[in-house]
Amino acid sequence: MVPLSWYLIVAAGLFCLGLYGVLSRKNMVAILMSVELMLNAININLIAFWRYQDPARIVGQAFAIMVFAVSAAEVAVGLALVISLYRRRKIVIAENVDLMKW
């Protein structure tokens, strides 16, 4: 059987990929997509830990489903904000959105 660490390595790689995307991409849509990557990495972790550590209970699966729900909601709100920003100010670049600046 594939050891647990393999899954964790894949998940860590995927997480770093997402993190890099979040921090470096300029396009807000791309940032959102990167966030999805990070969330999915976490899902992999959750499932892996469940399967290897405590398969008797379904806590890990439940958590993963929660994350799906959250990420779906997040994307929905996030995309809506992006579209709204785009419609009003014609921007999709995160750096240019500095309304909250001091």
Partner: protein, 734 residues
């Protein structure tokens, strides 16, 4: 109607008349005076019925003295008991009611004429000033100046009605409190009537002077009421004059052992102070002459015949208290009465001889005659005092009304000549009026002779004679001499007055054109003249001239009022000595006066002035009492009021203290503000705020608004905290 209910109703018509006139009819003069005179007539009628029932009812005065008409109701609840008020008619009040009823009715009738009813309204008359005359044009186109009607005609009758109410209340009361009520209501009316021509500053000042001076007496009387009430638990005559109460009062020392007096004496003196004010005795006599500022002579008559008599009436009323404990000679209270009364009598008589104003002479003679009565009471001759009170009321009313008639006649003359600077009251401007005003002359003569005590016919003779006889029989020779001297002066100035006014030739054009007054004025004069003679006959001694005349001395019935008093008069037997004195002084004074002023010509110096020299000025200025009082009491109380009480105490000391407190509070507030509030509280809060501000200023730069920068910061923090936790858990924790 029972007599009691009739007595209850006696004061009512004048009171109703007052309210009716004030509230409803004051625009209608005829209606007003009809109501006023009608009310006075009703009250007069009632008084006469009561008097007749009292005097000639079952057993006469003797029976009445023991069983007076009496009825009372509870008026004030005090604690478990009540204070009762009611009415009572005993011989004294019946006799008083008789002259009060007559004189008041006469005043009302006389006022109709005196205030010029039926005359046109004046050309320039103003309310609050005497009428100045009106111009009328007759059918031939000639203009005449005639007397004009009083502008406040209706109001005059309203005030008179209220006055009558007060007097009736005083007379019918069965207790000293309602007596006091009537007393003060009359005081108010006196104020209103003296100040009837209120727009004249002199009248205004005189009104205030009268009210204030009598009020000095009244506050003492109020104390007397309180004292008597607290000692006896009642003010009703039946209780306070009962032997047990008098016994108690006569032997109880006065509160705080005041001057070693007994309670009875102190109470008596307190009450007598009220009389000093009301009856204008020395030293509170100053208001009465000034009261002549009122409409001549109606209010003057109030201040001569009726209201001032109330003072004497009250002293006779409380005579049992004054004399309580008099077994061993006079009580201190009685001595006070004797001294003040006889001094006032002589004192006022001396002033009267130097006055030229016809009303002022009469005013001083009033003081003098009231002094007579007080002195008589002081030596215990209460019957004589009551007798003189009655006769004096009639003849003095007559004299005042007569003088009013003279003045009215003179005003007629003034309107004729048009010289408005002429004083119609100055006797020097008169003369020879006997021809133009015959009725006034004869009635005035009768009154004057009665005042002088002209022997055997006039009322004044009999009453004065009785006082002399009492003084002589009881051995009060000082009083006798002083009163005899006064009687001489009285006869003298009365004759001087009659001579100056009526005898000789007119000294001015105005006197030439004087005119007899209308019937409303002369009829009262004639009626009163009858009484000025006949009122004396009821007091002829039973043994006059040593004859046995039977029980003719009816006035002695008054003494049954006081049967409960312990004071017994010495049985007086007739003596020729006081009679001789009486004859000598009366006739002597009349003759001297007659001779000196028989043919006094215009521009001549007053013989009295010639005779007295410099002292005349002192007399003419009334011994400078007004000036003295003004310089001392009046000025002093003004200073106390305006400067001492208000400026010094209230504004200076008390407010000054309060302001100092406020200043201290302000100062402390300032100190706290500057030393504590500003640096510590306020400064401390500011410091905390500024620290936070600095913090914010410093850290706000990281708020770039860039999402990705924030995320980097989060990442850095997560890593940093990760290391921190690792360190804490793995390194420190183990």
């Amino acid at each position: 109607m029972t007599t009691e209910s009739l007595i209850w109703l006696l004061p009512l018509p004048p009171l109703l008349s007052f309210f009716l006139i004030i509230l409803f009819t004051n625009r209608n003069r005829a209606l007003s005076h009809t109501i006023g005179v009608g009310a006075a007539a009703l009250a007069w009628l009632g008084s006469m019925i009561v008097f007749l029932r009292a005097a000639f009812g079952e057993g006469g005065f003797h029976h009445l003295g023991e069983h007076p008409f009496h009825s009372a109701i509870a008026w004030l609840p005090v604690g478990e008991t009540t204070f009762n008020i009611g009415i009572q008619i005993d011989p004294l009040s019946a006799a008083t009611l008789f002259f009060v009823g007559w004189t008041i009715f006469m005043i009302f009738l006389y006022s109709v004429g005196y205030q010029n009813f039926g005359q046109p309204e004046g050309d320039h008359d103003k309310k609050g000033l005497p009428p100045h005359g009106a111009t009328v044009t007759d059918e031939h186109g000639h203009k005449h100046t005639v007397l004009s009607i009083e502008p406040n005609y209706s109001r005059f009758f309203a005030f008179l009605s209220l006055f009558a109410f007060g007097m009736y209340v005083l007379v019918v009361s069965d207790n000293l409190l309602t007596l006091f009520v009537g007393w003060e209501i009359m005081g108010l009316c006196s104020y209103l009537l003296i100040g009837f021509w209120f727009a004249k500053p002199s009248a205004r000042a005189a009104a205030i002077k009268a009210f204030m001076t009598t009020r000095i007496g009244d506050v003492f009387m109020l104390l007397g009421l309180a004292y008597l009430y607290s000692q006896t638990g009642s003010l009703s005559y039946r209780v306070i004059f009962s032997p047990e109460v008098l016994e108690h009062l006569a032997h109880d020392p006065a509160v705080g052992g005041f001057l070693g007096l007994t309670t009875a004496s102190l109470i008596g003196i307190l009450f007598f102070m009220g009389t000093i004010g009301k009856s204008a005795q020395f030293p509170l006599h100053v208001w009465l002459p000034d009261a002549m500022e009122g409409p001549t002579p109606v209010s003057a008559m109030i201040h001569a015949a009726t209201m001032v008599s109330a003072g004497v009436y009250m002293v006779i009323r409380i005579f049992p208290i004054l004399s309580a404990g008099a077994e061993h000679g006079l009580t201190p209270a009685m001595s006070t009465l004797a001294v003040i009364g006889s001094f006032s009598a002589l004192f006022a008589a001396t002033i009267a001889i130097a006055q030229n104003d016809i009303k002022r002479v009469l005013a001083y003679s009033t003081i003098s005659q009231l002094g007579y009565m007080i002195a008589a009471l002081g030596i215990g001759a209460y019957v004589a005092a009551a007798f003189h009170l009655i006769t004096h009321a009639f003849f003095k009313a007559l004299l005042f009304l007569g003088s009013g008639s003279i003045i009215h006649g003179m005003e007629h003359g003034i309107l004729h000549t048009g010289d408005h600077h002429m004083d119609p009251q100055d006797m020097m401007n008169m003369g020879g009026l006997r021809r133009s005003m015959p009725i006034t002359f004869w009635t005035f003569l009768i009154g004057g002779l009665a005042l002088s005590g002209f022997p055997f016919v006039t009322a004044g003779f009999w009453s004065k004679d009785e006082i002399f006889a009492d003084a002589f029989a009881n051995g009060h020779y000082t009083v006798l001499i002083v009163l005899a001297l006064t009687a001489f002066l009285t006869a003298f100035y009365t004759m001087r007055q009659i001579m100056l006014a009526f005898a000789g030739e007119p000294r001015t054009k105005e006197a030439e054109h004087a005119h007899e007054t209308p019937w409303t004025m002369t009829v009262p004069l004639m009626i009163l003249a009858v009484f000025a003679i006949a009122a004396g006959w009821v007091g002829i001694p039973n043994d006059f001239l040593g004859l046995n005349l039977g029980e003719i001395n009816w006035i002695h019935g008054v003494s049954y009022t006081l049967v409960l008093s312990e004071f017994e008069l010495e049985g007086i037997t007739f003596s020729f000595i006081p009679l001789t004195i009486s004859l000598a002084v009366a006739l002597g004074g009349l003759v001297v006066g007659g001779v000196m002023y028989r043919d006094f010509k215009a521009g001549q110096t007053d013989p009295v002035k010639k005779m007295l020299g410099g002292f005349h000025a002192v007399l003419q200025n009334k011994y400078y009492f007004d000036e003295f009082y003004h310089a001392t009491f009046v000025r002093f109380s003004q200073w106390v009021s305006e400067t001492f009480s208000f400026q010094w105490i209230d504004r200076g000391i008390i407010d000054g203290f309060l302001h100092t407190l406020a200043r201290v509070a302000f100062f402390l507030g300032g100190v706290f503000r500057d030393r504590f509030e500003l640096p510590v509280i306020s400064g401390g809060a500011d410091w905390v705020a500024s620290v936070f501000q600095w913090f914010g200023q410093t850290f706000r730069t990281i708020q770039s608004g860039r999402v990705q920068q924030y995320m980097i910061l989060v990442l850095v923090n997560v890593i940093a905290f990760g290391f921190l936790f690792y360190y804490l858990v793995e390194v420190v924790g183990r």
